[in-house]
Structure formats: C-alpha cells, structure tokens
Symmetry: C2
Subunit: 178 residues, 2 copies
C-alpha cells in the first residue's frame, strides 16, 4: 500500500468515480498518470478495498465506477490516524532555474517570471471556480468536519492562498529586475 493507494481511497471515500475521473480530480494534490492509476485500481479491487460497477457504453470502453468498501474505509482511517505523514516531496523545475537565474539576461529572467505568473493565474482561476461551486451549495456548512466536502474544501482554500502568495512574490521578484 503506497501513498497513491490512499489518495485513491480518499477520493472514493467522498463518492464513487471512474479511473478517468480520479486521474483528473487528483491533479490538485497528487499527480499520477493513468498508466499508474488503472493497474492500481485493479489491485485495490482484488484486495477488496474497492468494488466497481461496470457501465456498458457504445463506442467507448466499458466504464468502471469504483466505490470504496467498508474494508477500504477502515484501512484509510487507520492510515490517516496511525501512520505519520512522510515529508512532502516538491520538484519544481522553475525553482531550479531560479537558483541560477543570474545566468539569464534580465529580459529573459523577466520572461521566465511572467510565464510563472500566467501558470499561477490559470491555476487560481480553476481553484476559484471550484470553490465557488462548493460555496454555492449552502445546504449544509462546508466548514463543518462532518460534511463530506470539508477536507476537499480546506484543500482548495489552502492551495488558493498559496498560489496567491506566490503571485505576490513573483511581483516582488520582477520589481528587483533592472
């Protein structure tokens, strides 16, 4: 059981999804390619942590909608409560470039920062859109831990704050260029 397994269980704990859905929904907090996800879902199903329902489709491969089992919930809960979280891994090529940014002339440095800004703004737009959707469903409070959306909402709010903070930093960095 690796961390990706628990990431899949976490998402399926909210509601059932296909592998295709999971791949896209995970991008925010755990990046994985479909070639890693599909075999792992098969394995988790064999281990009885998941079940799936086959949805027949015409012209497309059959769709498998996975649901978490009681055994899956128990395994996930145990991991969350008992296992210490590993030290986060962040690999960002922009930061590697930044370290030696002095090798670039100021115009190129500016371009690199501007590209970062654009990427951040695209992410923020996606995050804000999703947060707006969540906040629109005022039937019960998102800020209540018993709400199934609670963790996801906190995750999105966290990411939004961090992206906004990085944008401010980029503006500061650009202001230092000659």
């Amino acid at each position: 059981m690796n961390a990706l397994s628990y990431a899949l269980l976490s998402m399926l704990n909210r509601k059932p999804f296909s592998g295709y859905d999971l791949k896209k929904l995970m991008e925010l907090f755990w990046q994985a390619k479909h070639s890693q996800i599909y075999p792992l879902l098969t394995k988790l199903e064999k281990d009885e942590l998941l079940t799936f329902e086959l949805i027949s489709q015409s012209g497309k491969p059959d769709k498998k909608i996975y649901s978490i089992t009681d055994k899956g919930v128990a395994a996930l809960k145990k991991w969350i409560v008992d296992e210490p979280a590993a030290i986060p891994v962040m690999r960002d090529e922009f930061l590697v470039k930044l370290y030696a940014i002095g090798l670039a002339d100021p115009e190129t440095a500016r371009r690199i920062f501007e590209e970062r800004l654009i990427a951040k703004k695209v992410t923020i737009a996606r995050l804000q859109k999703e947060i707006n959707l969540m906040e629109a469903q005022k039937d019960d409070s998102l800020t209540d831990i018993t709400n199934k959306q609670f963790g996801r909402y906190l995750l999105y709010k966290r990411k939004l704050r961090l992206e906004e903070e990085e944008i401010e930093w980029v503006h500061w960095a650009i202001s230092l260029l000659p």
Copy 2:
C-alpha cells in the same frame, strides 16, 4: 540530462561543493538521496560538465569537490533559457489525509494539524536563519541579479512566505474544528 542534473549544475554554478554538501543544500528545492546524487555526479564529470578535486582525508573517504566547467555553464544556461519548465510535482501525504480528514475524530484532526504546524515552524526557523546569514553580508546587494546569491535569496524568501502563509491557513483550519 534530467532535472536533477540541472539542479546539481545550478548549485555548482554558485560555488564548488562535495556530493555530501549538495545533498543537504538541495533539500529546499529538489529532494534527492545520496545514492542518486553520487552516480550522477560521476556521470556529469565524464560528460565534462563538471570537474573535481580530490581532497585526501584520514579516517574518512577521500572528498571530491566538484566545480562546474564552461561546458557545464553553457548547458545550464541553455536549459534555463530555452527549455520550458515542466509542471511542478508535489506529493504531500498530509494533503491526502486532509482530503479525508472527516474520517478522524476532531481531537485526532486537531493533532494532525498541530503536527503540521510544528513541521512548518521548524522549516521556517531554518529558512530565517539562512536568510539572516545572507542579509548580514551587506558587501553587495542580494537584490541585484548580478549577485551570485540572487537566485538563492529569492528562493529562500519565496519558501519563507509560503510556509508562513500555510501556517495562517492551519490556524484557520484548526479554528473550524469543534
């Protein structure tokens, strides 16, 4: 040539280091184990992007102090300027747990957030210490792109801001718990 190669070149562009030093200094922006770094340094040296000076030591293995070559600087510069930066990869088990934090009882949830706070505070202390060291060397300005420390300084300032922002978010998250 993978991103780790460029991360090593970036650091050696500032000044010469041993593999042992590089391993520790990289932790901030690109995590790698020594078992990955040592063979890669050997390869980069064979490709003439690096050279090394052997320092004989008693009781310890000989120390290899690596320096970047002109060819290495050219390769690094080309990568920084011409190659688009890959989309960052972040894998943080805390975020996986957060997604399904509703499975934990409120006391356990609080504990998980508090542990996150402590980890962040430790990181901030390390960052602040290093920033203070850099800022103490006022011989020439850190905020000048021609200064060899410029990129490193920006990197530390960025990380500090993001860690501080996350702490504020954790406080908010804790305030939502019953």
